[in-house]
Assembly symmetry: D2
Homo-oligomer: 429 residues x 4
């Protein structure tokens, strides 16, 4: 509420009596918010949208039959493939990550087919459920929540499948819940070593444009991604990349639904087939702006930026961990995502810390996901940092220094020197 006339007068008297010569302090009951400013959404997606993307989406509807939209769209496809590291095909879907979980499977997995899921977090289990929803039989190898998959175990399972009834291995590159990063090239090598013909399908939703990924070089047959993480576009668009082996498998399918069918999307005879109907016009303009930013910066440079910033975060976390309850979910740096970091801090601290950061500092951390235990059914002891896409040094240092402030404010024990440790990583970059 604004100043009341009364209070103006009141202040007048006060000031007359003791003018503002000593540092002025507040004593009243009014509640101040230290969050009134640019807030920062540091969750693992949707990520921070660049103004250039939002501005590109702030425009009148274009003609969807002729003209600039059509040309612009065709330019998107090669650029998407560059970012995926593939020379093969891409189908764009209006949808989120779940949509392309289903779309990718619908093209190559028929009812009754078997798939193998080496799970390393909640999103692996989520994809498996979608497969089950299509009538597939799913074999899960559960690697828990704190370590990457072991390619040898996957190879073992495939080797045991003499009849080659397993049609696909579903691998999540980075599981957003655990922040584990799996080694896709090693998985490919392990599959190849068995001679098993199963497709390697990879979920890069949380990693594309953040962590290095090279679809062709690493031997993924199908790769899926979405707009709202490393690609920095609002949720609502997702992608299925597929190679010739996958295309051949699709050709053998008894039936693929019209909407999920990737064939006309990837090789359309008419523009509307690209999206099976009306194009997602505004998202396409946003994507164009985002791809321009990524390619202007350079994909290697984008990956390197994410690497430095991730290591800065890990350095701070290592320092905090030296004392007190905070702990990185993935102990081995070699298996950590460079886009998201999952943390453990104990049931009594996690949600409290998240709330403090949001309500007192203006930075929103990601909730723990898929980490529930009997003791902690709401995953209150977990939280996550998203550091994907449009992130730079001042944002990450602000994130870390805000968490440092929260740890102090809430009196949560923690090791010292976290900010300096992070600063040194950036300073040396």
């Amino acid at each position: 509420m604004p100043i009341q006339s009364a209070s103006v007068e009141q202040v007048a008297i006060d000031v007359a009596q003791k003018p503002d010569r000593v540092p002025w302090r507040f004593t009243g009951a009014a509640i101040m918010k230290l969050t009134q400013g640019q807030t920062y959404l540091a969750i693992p997606g949707p990520s921070v949208m660049p103004e250039a993307v939002l501005r590109a989406m702030h425009r009148a509807a274009p003609n969807i039959y002729e003209g600039e939209l059509i040309e612009m769209t065709h330019g998107l496809l090669p650029d998407l493939k560059k970012i995926a590291g593939t020379r093969h095909d891409v189908a764009i879907y209006i949808g989120n990550g779940h949509a392309v979980w289903e779309a990718s499977l619908a093209n190559v997995i028929a009812e009754g087919d078997r798939v193998l899921m080496p799970a390393t977090g909640a999103f692996g289990h989520g994809w498996r459920e979608v497969a089950a929803g299509l009538g597939a039989e799913c074999e899960v190898i559960d690697f828990g929540r704190r370590c990457p998959m072991d390619p040898a175990k996957v190879a073992e399972a495939l080797a045991a499948d003499k009849s080659h009834s397993i049609k696909a291995v579903l691998a999540v590159h980075v599981d957003t819940s655990t922040s584990v990063r799996n080694d896709i090239a090693a998985l490919r090598a392990a599959i190849d070593a068995t001679g098993h013909p199963a497709l390697l399908m990879v979920d890069c939703i949380a990693s594309l444009g953040c962590d290095r990924f090279e679809m062709d070089a690493w031997g993924a047959d199908v790769m899926i991604a979405a707009s709202q993480k490393g690609l920095m576009v609002p949720p609502g668009m997702a992608f299925v990349f597929f190679n010739e082996k996958a295309a051949a498998r699709r050709a053998e399918m008894p039936r693929v639904s019209r909407y999920w069918d990737w064939a006309p999307r990837a090789n359309p005879e008419a523009y509307y087939q690209l999206f099976c109907g009306t194009a997602p016009t505004h998202h396409l303009y946003g994507l164009r702006a985002s791809l321009d930013m990524i390619l202007d910066e350079g994909l290697e440079q984008v990956w390197q930026r994410h690497d430095v910033l991730a290591r800065a975060i890990w350095a701070a976390c290592d320092a905090w961990s030296a004392e007190g309850p905070l702990e990185l979910n993935i102990a081995d740096e070699a298996h950590r995502s460079r886009a998201v970091t999952s943390l453990r801090i104990g049931k009594e601290h996690g949600t409290r810390l998240r709330r403090w950061c949001q309500d007192q500092a203006g930075v929103t951390l990601g909730i723990g996901l898929g980490m529930a235990t009997e003791d902690d059914p709401q995953s209150d002891g977990f939280f996550r940092f998203g550091h994907m896409g449009h992130v730079n040094a001042q944002m990450i240092m602000g994130l870390l220094a805000s968490v440092q402030t929260g740890l102090i404010a809430l009196d949560i024990p923690h090791g010292s020197g976290a900010i300096d440790a992070a600063a040194r990583v950036i300073a040396e970059a």
Copy 2:
């Protein structure tokens, strides 16, 4: 190109010799564009987006786990139902019209089921193909491209289906290609008269928020719509409304894929189930702005506005038709859409007129769709006006007066008095 120094001097000499006393005219070769200004996209979707919608979408990503987005989303559902005229359920999909063609069918039509399609344009045939893609057997009653369906013929087909193997009648309320408007209440009455239990599924993609539609009152079991027409939001979001009869049918389905399943979307236990994964955050903000506009204006008033403007368009078209080749595709006013108007003008004129309007006046008309004949394989003799959503008198009068200008410019014979005829409809409103 800007003025050259040379030309400045040249002009100086010219002016000194004969100062600017006579009306100044251009003689040079430079090409002037009369389109440099606010352009107007008068195609039948995506429709003109209100600035309030675009502004609402120009914002930072929100938290998708807690806070204002969650509350706002829950407020959308009752408002969507108001606009659909239903007290039943709605499932929101990230997708376009084709997506909800498939989504709606996937919940109630199993492989091998039969559906009945009384087709009155290209979009009826499109929906039928999607049904076929899901493994349904489709019976088509084709009513051609210039008239509405005859409910009696549909009743006949149902009556012949003694075994009740037809699970659904797929009806398009307004077919965007032909601009025919079908009488859904009459269709319902005809179905009921046969005692056949088939679901009545209605595509209102082109009509919702433009032409009166009352889902419950008219007896539709399933209704589908999309964001980019009467709802004035960019393409990328679509809706399936369904009643208890349809829900019961879904409960009997052997299997519904996770992504298409409307049950958790309509009655979610957790927020993310509303969209089967990440929410379409920015579209939701846009939809909120759009629903606010519609409900502030009043749904009856929105319908009435579309009615007056449609009649103004028809009056102009009737005047033009009095002489020359232009003709309304749907002769009987009682069967015309109030959101889109399809026109016939002859192969030599249609595309030419569209191009003139776009390149000389700044208004883009819709292409003819699904109207190809042997003589006119590219539908060059057809065009359409979109007049859905965010349209008012000055826009429609500008559209009509621009077409009038094009007819004059291209020397296409036409009856006189079109603008006055349209003006009179508006003046009397």
Copy 3:
């Protein structure tokens, strides 16, 4: 208000009794608005802002000491000069038209100096008052409200000033109130013929970027303009162009206030001098976008577009005038502005017609300004069309067809064929 549950039921009963087979019409008391859509502000400034300009202004604040803003600003100056047709100097002011009325005078007119004002409308008188406010003695030659100035009369007044006490002739190129366009080259010639050394200062606020203007070629010593008309940028920035003769006069001034002084603005040693303090950052980005549009189109083409559209308006007005009270304020086409058109229609009709257009059609016309008479103290019998800047054929045809609709709706007598007459001008362009 949205549909009430009750009304849904009510409709259900109604529809059951008489399904929607006959054209559906409204009878109720609810008020429909035919204005719900893109509204069009057709006043003589601020003009319609292109989305590209607004988008360019929707951005974070830039550094004002280093970097891209500084470079961008320097690029604006030559482009502004191209549009003014000058090789001399320009000073940019944060301000409106009144600001540069005062700024321009403050640099060359000292207290007690005499100026000569050949007035052709309210804005001439306005500028004169500003001169008086600076202590100048103003001699007015009033040419009324319906015709241009007569250069011979100006020459006469100068010839009578043997002592050369008149320091400047203040000429308004286009007076926005009357829509008269004065012949500046002819005025220059007339002044030159007298040998009088008075500066020729020209107000191009309403004409720059619309009507041809060539500062150097036509011999203006000082020219002023503002952002919100032909330059299509929101109000808040204005310009003073001046040549060496004017600069010499400024050098002789006893004192010029720091803020109005054009010398450091035009030839700054430091960036902040360009604007005498903090730069108008967002307006500068808007101006860049606007200048890009103008120069991409071509200045000659911009002028030609305004010419064609103005002639279309005049043709419609001529047709309307053939019968009834509507009349163009400036009878002779040779003296009409191509940016604004003033109209007379009689006290009982003007305000009514404006209100109808705004409230029923969504187009806002300009009020009559400076046209008050004893009979019509509120200028109710006058209105104006603004047709400056970002205007194209469909906008102007929409404007005219909306007025046509208003004339019909309000039963105001008018000649027929107005829209066709306008259409023919555009068709022949």
Copy 4:
């Protein structure tokens, strides 16, 4: 540049040989930018603009003669007065701070009048120059660059002016160059003690909406402010508040120029007089959004937020200062601004640190201003933090942690514990 086909193949070979099992590091020559993300402009104005303000300005031009703009504008005046702590008058100018320096003086200081300037930084001297430009005679008491004015010295000078030829004392509340904050209430008391009738004119450009200021209670007769600092609106609008004593003085002035005259602006008979011509339409919408934010938060709360964040900054600076060259310009906390902080770090470090922060971290610090010495003619040894307006804890912690990173990266000696010190201030708030 995007990935080359060649590099894809190259990577394929590399990966086949040594799959991605060890932490992946960059070795190449490509240049990574850690600035690609949300950049933060931490200069002392223009300040960070809230998205709500920018969004409010992204709109079509309104009618400037009738309707919502007019009503909205009238609502701004009382809210501006609340923020200024006055019940008197306010005149709005299209302009920057320099404009209201001149506007305020032009209403009360005639040619030849004397003014007294107790200067505490560059902006004091700037205002004095503007006074000189109006023909005033200026007496300066220079308090240097590191401490506030001494009211007793001002009183002395006034007491010596027996003839009351000094018409005004020009005081800068916060001088943005030095970041000193002067005690206006004490100055008023000192002036009053002398019985001298000079007006007290106060420049609050850098402080309004950041540091507590109460115009009426503290006894300022005239107060000036601008839009681009605590008011969070782009540069281009400024304000002169004045009380009855100042109004009386204006009434005695021999002449005030039309544009600067505050009388019709503050008490207009017609809307256009509010701005002496065309209104700054888009800035007005932005100001409305900004005032809503300030008043929703509460002015006391806004001040308190600035206080906490300023003390966090000072705590960090104190820690840094404990070792090495960094030093706060104003030693005594009681005299520091809560909107801007000036720092000294030595010629070899200042510009280097600023550049590092901007080019490596994405945060832009303010340059040193008005601090030049013979040794350091470019003020390279100085820099400033702006912390005004739309600032919260995560922004300030990000700023401080980025500077910490820069100090480490550039090997500039500094005391330890800065971030923790700042965090403790915020944690205790």
